[in-house]
């Protein structure tokens, strides 16, 4: 095999590998091995491992940057569809957001949903430890009436009164878990809708 051809393959795969960041090592290795075998097969069927045949095989795959972007989009969308863990969903939405505006808005919505959900759960959990200060509080100031969720690490402002009392525990858990589940569904739904409109029209 010509050294020059071999070097071209290695350089291509190395650029691709660097662009496939965030993907797990096993997946990356599989992708690189598969493409290496494709390039060799393609070049061989073109007449042998001459530099020009290898170059043609690489050109057929497109630039490593574009190929990596294609892998990352596909991976991110597939993962969001399969996974239900908020962390993994946020991780894949993050990658999607770096690739498109639609992904950015979905990421923003999902981040707000998860944040509120976890705030409610945290508040419910902390209520027994800070019975006097944690909970949902309402107070009025110059800007009008406000409602705020307090974890109880500091005293509420003067004149504020608590709305839920001990109901904070069940209500916080139900609302919090509900928000997390809804956000997950929302993210999965968006990923599906996006994938459908871009890749596959379904009846």
């Amino acid at each position: 095999m010509a050294d020059d051809a071999q070097q071209k393959i290695e350089a291509y795969l190395e650029t691709l590998r660097r662009r496939l960041r965030g993907m797990n090592d096993d997946d990356t290795r599989e992708i690189l091995e598969e493409l290496r075998s494709h390039i060799v097969d393609r070049a061989t069927s073109g007449g042998g491992m001459a530099t020009s045949n290898v170059e043609a095989a690489l050109a057929g795959l497109g630039s490593p940057e574009e190929l990596a972007a294609e892998y990352m989009t596909n991976e991110a969308l597939a993962r969001a569809e399969v996974s239900r863990s908020p962390l993994r969903i946020l991780g894949s939405l993050f990658r999607w957001a770096s690739l498109s505006i639609a992904g950015f808005w979905v990421l923003l919505g999902a981040a707000i949903g998860y944040f509120l959900g976890f705030a409610f759960i945290l508040c419910a959990v902390l209520k027994p430890f800070h019975p006097q200060t944690a909970g949902l509080w309402r107070y009025s100031d110059a800007g009008g009436s406000q409602v705020s969720l307090r974890l109880g690490f500091s005293s509420p402002p003067a004149g504020a009164h608590e709305i839920l009392g001990w109901w904070m525990v069940p209500v916080g858990l139900v609302v919090g878990i509900g928000l997390v589940m809804l956000t997950t569904r929302f993210a999965i739904w968006c990923a599906r809708a996006y994938r459908r409109s871009h890749v596959l029209p379904r009846g």
Partner: protein, 122 residues
């Protein structure tokens, strides 16, 4: 006459989207009769259909179909001296491709009816 290049461009874009939309079904259908490796899938698509497929699209698509558990893969040693990654439909994948095929058939026959007068009008 001025509008000509722009129109062609729009049609081209539409055709790209159309081909892209069919690709998932085409790849799954190519695997219907048995396992194939990436380059064989590409050749099957080129010989059995006139879908001109970019190689840079098929490999990422295969990896997504695998993540969705519509296909599974295995490495098989070859005479060429290096292993090849073969893909095969999973039971879910088989079911999916049948569903997609029936949707496709219904869709294309209703489009055919709609398009018949347009073809004649030429």
């Amino acid at each position: 006459m001025k509008a000509q290049p722009q129109e062609t461009e729009t049609t081209d874009k539409w055709e790209v989207q159309l081909r892209k939309g069919c690709l998932e079904l085409a790849v799954l259908a190519a695997l219907w009769e048995g396992k194939l490796y990436g380059l064989e899938i590409l050749r099957r698509l080129e010989s059995d259909s006139d879908l001109v497929v970019s190689e840079g699209t098929v490999y990422p698509l295969l990896s997504r179909l695998k993540a969705l558990e519509l296909v599974r893969s295995e490495w098989v040693e070859s005479d060429a001296g290096h292993p090849r990654k073969y893909y095969a439909l999973t039971p879910v994948g088989k079911q999916r491709v049948q569903e997609m095929a029936s949707i496709w058939t219904r869709f294309s026959s209703s489009m055919g009816k709609l398009l018949a007068p347009v073809g004649k009008g030429r």
